[in-house]
Symmetry: C2
């Protein structure tokens, strides 16, 4: 193996508001020789997630923020090209926090965080990051463990055309709920009802958003799978039944602004339970992945991925999460041959 | 009985910010003859509660807002002076939504909401509105049903010198928790630790509030009994352990401003469960009242009431809830002979 060049995107300054290329340094470094216990991974795909934006900010969060000068942290899928760790061999397909770079040298003490993926899952790699990966698992546990939805109940999902929301809504349908999705624009709304089988879709960009939501939830809302926060969440909470449950997955509307736009008062008047959760508490469950994969094969679950290309484009691609111009899971192909 | 004159405070305009006398009309009206099924109640004491302020605003809430021109709604204790309802007789002591007036004519269809109080409870009437009334029951169910606190856990209570908070903190101690109270000013803080037996008290008005809170919660916070919202809640949530529970009783910091100053993002990073509740869901439980009364008699629970006088002063007295110049339960004596 010739010594490959490793392109890396290092966090240069902390963005306020939108992410730009100017917040990162693109550097080229040789891949170092492996020390004992280390694993060298060729990054194939990177998962583009709203939480990446949070990691760039020096605010309290569940992981330390990415340090200035550090490779931007991100989940991805790669192939082991060399290993001095007993648990991994060249050729293994792995998932982990590989970061915004062509090659990740995984230190010995972090190799345990790498998850080996089955060589022959029959699923495309982007799907292993999406519907059968972190996004799908988040939707799955949110609606089974955090705020289980019962047959006949009304479930509202915000950011419903996104990677987690699109799966959450379909899981709601599989569980027998009436499912209303909130998304931006008529195209996405049609996608929810015509392709994904949602019972109704509401356009949060429309002037009559609140009226649309009211009309779509005549019996109120029993469960809110919340991805957005702020004004969108406020509208949903106003429609909830007394004693309703909120699976709080994300507040993407706050991530770029850094401003808190939420109001918990309605939790009192409606006696709501809001429960925040993180998928990292659910150690990768074979059962959940197999359930999701089974639904995909049966056609009960539809998954869409938007694949963008080029490591150097990572900052712009990440912004698309906040622009709402894509559907389903957004991934970045790092290796053109992947 | 000569026909008494009934002074009534009618909501004239909706306050923005603080409540003033100018928002109410003080009118005098004769007490009408009772129709079949009605009950006439002489109001003795009125409970002054933060929720009264919410009822004045035309915002979504758990009861309809008080209409302009309507008697201001309030909970109180009174004595039945005449009854054409089979369930009540002259002389009965009752509690209910009697409103800001000397005499309440309770319509037949609302008489069922009146709760008859024992003639000889051995407890002062203000205590029946406070520690053994709505305030005490709120604290009781918040820490037994909504967010049960376990021995050895750390409980934080905000507005801890207030009617609900002072009882909640003491119930936490009775249940074996380490209890930290948040209150405004050194006098109240001393009251919490020296009189009520809290383990620590933190002054939210102090410049080093967050440092004080951190020092008082070295093992983090397991349960937050939240009465305040906004900046105070944000500080408490930042100290919570992963998986902590929030009994969301009130967000008094938002009631006058009408602004939403909360941020639910931390619920995700800390995987918190926040559950809003209202005491009206707990039908007056003999058991809870007897438990609280027993603790009061044993001296395990200390209750303090601040009694103000004069129906005409109701708006100013209500403001004291937001000024934080009182301790314990704030009640208004309407009948000078009570």
């Amino acid at each position: 193996m010739s010594t490959p060049v490793n392109r890396q995107l290092l966090l240069k300054t902390r963005p306020e508001g939108r992410v730009g290329r100017e917040h990162f340094s693109l550097v080229e470094a040789p891949v170092p020789a492996l020390a004992d216990g280390e694993v060298l991974v060729r990054v194939l795909y990177l998962s583009m997630d709203p939480t990446n934006r949070v990691w760039m900010s020096d605010v309290p969060q569940y992981l330390p923020p990415v340090a200035i000068g550090e490779v931007m942290r991100a989940l991805g899928i790669g192939r082991v090209v060399a290993s001095r760790h007993a648990g991994f061999a060249a050729g293994d397909l792995v998932q982990g926090l590989v970061g915004w770079q062509d090659y990740a040298v995984v230190p010995a003490d972090q190799a345990a965080q790498l998850v080996k993926l089955p060589a022959q899952s029959g699923l495309p790699l982007p799907t292993l990051l999406g519907a059968c990966g972190m996004s799908g698992l988040t939707a799955y546990y949110g609606l089974t463990d955090i705020a289980p939805v019962q047959p006949g109940e009304t479930l509202v999902v915000s950011a419903a055309a996104g990677s987690v929301g699109s799966i959450a809504g379909q899981i709601g349908k599989i569980h027998g709920a009436r499912v209303v999705g909130i998304a931006g624009g008529p195209d996405k709304c049609r996608y929810l009802t015509e392709t994904l089988g949602f019972d109704a879709a509401v356009d949060y960009k429309a002037d009559d958003f609140r009226q649309q939501l009211k009309a779509a939830t005549p019996d109120g809302v029993h469960v809110d799978f919340e991805n957005v926060g702020g004004e969108v969440m406020r509208a949903v909470l106003s429609r909830m039944v007394i004693g309703g449950r909120v699976a709080l997955c994300g507040v993407i509307s706050n991530y770029n602004s850094g401003r808190a736009a939420d109001d918990v008062g309605v939790l009192i008047s409606k006696r709501l339970t809001m429960r925040g959760f993180l998928i990292l508490d659910y150690r990768k469950s074979r059962e959940a992945v197999q359930t999701l994969a089974g639904w995909l094969r049966d056609g009960r679950l539809k998954a869409e991925e938007t694949v963008a290309d080029g490591l150097e484009n990572a900052p712009d691609v990440l912004n698309r999460l906040f622009d709402g111009d894509h559907r389903g899971k957004l991934v970045l192909r790092v290796d053109p041959d992947a």
